[in-house]
């Protein structure tokens, strides 16, 4: 009797938790972190995928900068809802992760460090406006001069 009720309880618990787990849609990685939503707002964009492509495709410096600058703009555009409208300016720290050996226990790569390679900064008023149509800038359109982008570190050698 007890064994039967224990099995039933276990089955019920499994069903309930399975239902709870099944409710979510799996997410893609969110490579943008909102570190500070207001004041001098700060986003951190993990551009490891883009940096890997830059190295793999042996891009020159100008092309690499363009990839990072447009990516950082997209990071702001897709996270405007998470930023405070009173933010005086928004900075994106562009980082990449150096990958180390595979951890035998976890079966995943170990991190050899996080590197900041570039910074993009925009005025708060521009972030929440559509100046020069920046939120939907075409890939071929020039990046507005009022967007401040600077390299602060080195990309891996190509």
């Amino acid at each position: 009797m007890f064994r039967g009720s224990a099995v039933a309880a276990l089955l019920l618990a499994t069903l309930v938790t399975s239902a709870a787990l099944a409710q979510d849609q799996d997410e893609d990685d969110l490579p943008v972190l909102v570190a500070k939503p207001g004041g001098h707002a700060l986003l951190i964009w993990d551009a490891t995928t883009q940096v890997t492509d830059i190295v793999k495709n042996k891009m020159n410096d100008a092309a690499a900068d363009d990839v990072l600058e447009r990516g950082a703009l997209a990071a702001i555009a897709s996270n405007r809802d998470a930023l405070s409208r009173s933010a005086s300016d928004v900075t994106v720290n562009i980082i990449f992760k150096k990958i180390g050996a595979i951890n035998p226990e976890y079966g995943t790569p170990t991190y050899a460090g996080v590197y900041k390679c570039a910074v993009l900064k925009m005025d708060g008023n521009d972030v929440f406006g559509k100046r020069d149509g920046w939120p939907t800038l075409a890939a071929s359109a020039p990046i507005p001069a009022w967007v401040h982008f600077s390299l602060v570190g080195q990309l891996p050698p190509r």
Partner: protein, 336 residues
């Protein structure tokens, strides 16, 4: 007359008495090895019986034995949480759970470094599947581990994973990026670990014999924690939130009384990053996820002063003492 060719290279089979001698020696070696391993197992089992807290790299063998022991003697209260509750930088005897135990609470501290809601969920599943029925569960909820940038965001501890692998659904495997089982190598590893405890619990043994507390960095600046908390609204698909909900559902469906508490955070240090409306909104979201399943949460987020911390959330001995007081008060008040 023909000469007989010399028998070069061919091994001469041992004559019967010689073969018997080899067999006897082999038998003696096997028996000695078995006695040695049995002796070692007895010593290790005695020494490693219920450590005050899990080792940093605790083994599946240790966890398995601990779960068996808990099934035989269920604890009053099981604590689940991360390095804050585990007691980073503080001797095992000085941590909050040890202080509560010293007051007479029968407690099992299953908190460990780099834990997260997924580990909590599968630890609870393992407890439940082994027939361990604690009187209540205390859950530590740390907003830090809901950050997709956190290294533990999707990670199951190898010790938990080894035991929980049969419980994982394909969705768990995808969500937690679980590497496939190493096949025969893993089976061999499990067999060796079960047979020889020194091997199976080598990491637990090493830490229990030579534990050296990590030294917190002497100079702490807020910029060091810029990537620690994500101030974007918590999404429904956040991996931590998914498993927090599942944990709450499991506790409710098994009628296990539970109390959650929000990890104390060093607001004086992190003011520029976390003292904003979104941090509060995310906190409420976590509390609501638990409340949906009838689990009350006490908010210790801003409860402790800066002097209680080593860094953003790890508590020094005074902080652990203060956390013990807070927990004792909350447990008494909720009367679970």
């Amino acid at each position: 007359m023909s000469a007989t060719p010399p028998n070069i290279g061919a091994a001469k089979p041992p004559d019967p008495p010689q073969r018997a001698g080899v067999m006897v020696i082999a038998g003696v070696v096997v028996v000695l090895l078995a006695v040695l391993i049995a002796g070692e197992n007895a010593i290790v089992a005695q020494r490693m019986q219920h450590l005050p807290r899990l080792a940093t790299d605790f083994s599946a063998t240790y966890l398995d034995r601990e779960l068996q022991a808990l099934a035989e003697e269920p604890p009053q209260t099981v604590f689940l949480g991360d390095s804050v509750l585990w007691g980073y930088g503080v001797p095992a005897g000085d941590i909050a759970v040890a202080r509560l135990s010293a007051r007479g609470l029968t407690a099992e501290n299953l908190a460990f470094k780099a834990a997260n809601p997924a580990n909590d969920f599968f630890l609870l599943r393992l407890l439940h599947d082994r027939g361990v029925r604690p009187r209540r569960v205390v859950l530590e909820i740390n907003q830090q581990v809901f950050n997709p940038f956190d290294q533990s965001y999707r990670a199951l501890h190898p010790g938990v994973l080894a035991l929980a692998r049969p419980l994982l659904t394909p969705a768990d495997v995808r969500r937690l990026r679980v590497a496939p089982d190493a096949g025969p190598q893993a089976a061999l590893e499990r067999a060796a670990s079960n047979l020889w405890l020194v091997y199976g619990m080598r990491s637990d043994l090493r830490e229990s014999l030579f534990e050296r507390l990590p030294t917190p960095p002497p100079h702490i600046a807020s910029d060091m924690f810029a990537m620690t908390y994500d101030q974007a609204p918590l999404r429904k698909s956040n991996v931590g939130l998914v498993y927090l909900r599942a944990t709450a559902a499991l506790l409710a469906s098994t009628h296990t009384p539970a109390l959650a508490f929000l990890t104390p955070v060093n607001h004086a240090l992190l003011h520029e990053f976390i003292d904003n409306p979104q941090y509060g909104a995310n906190k409420r979201r976590l509390v609501e996820a638990l409340r949906e399943h009838g689990i009350a949460t006490v908010d210790f987020d801003s409860a402790l002063p800066s002097r209680d911390f080593f860094d953003n959330d790890h508590l020094n001995p005074q902080g652990q003492r203060d956390l013990a007081e807070l927990l004792a008060g909350a447990l008494a008040k909720t009367k679970l």
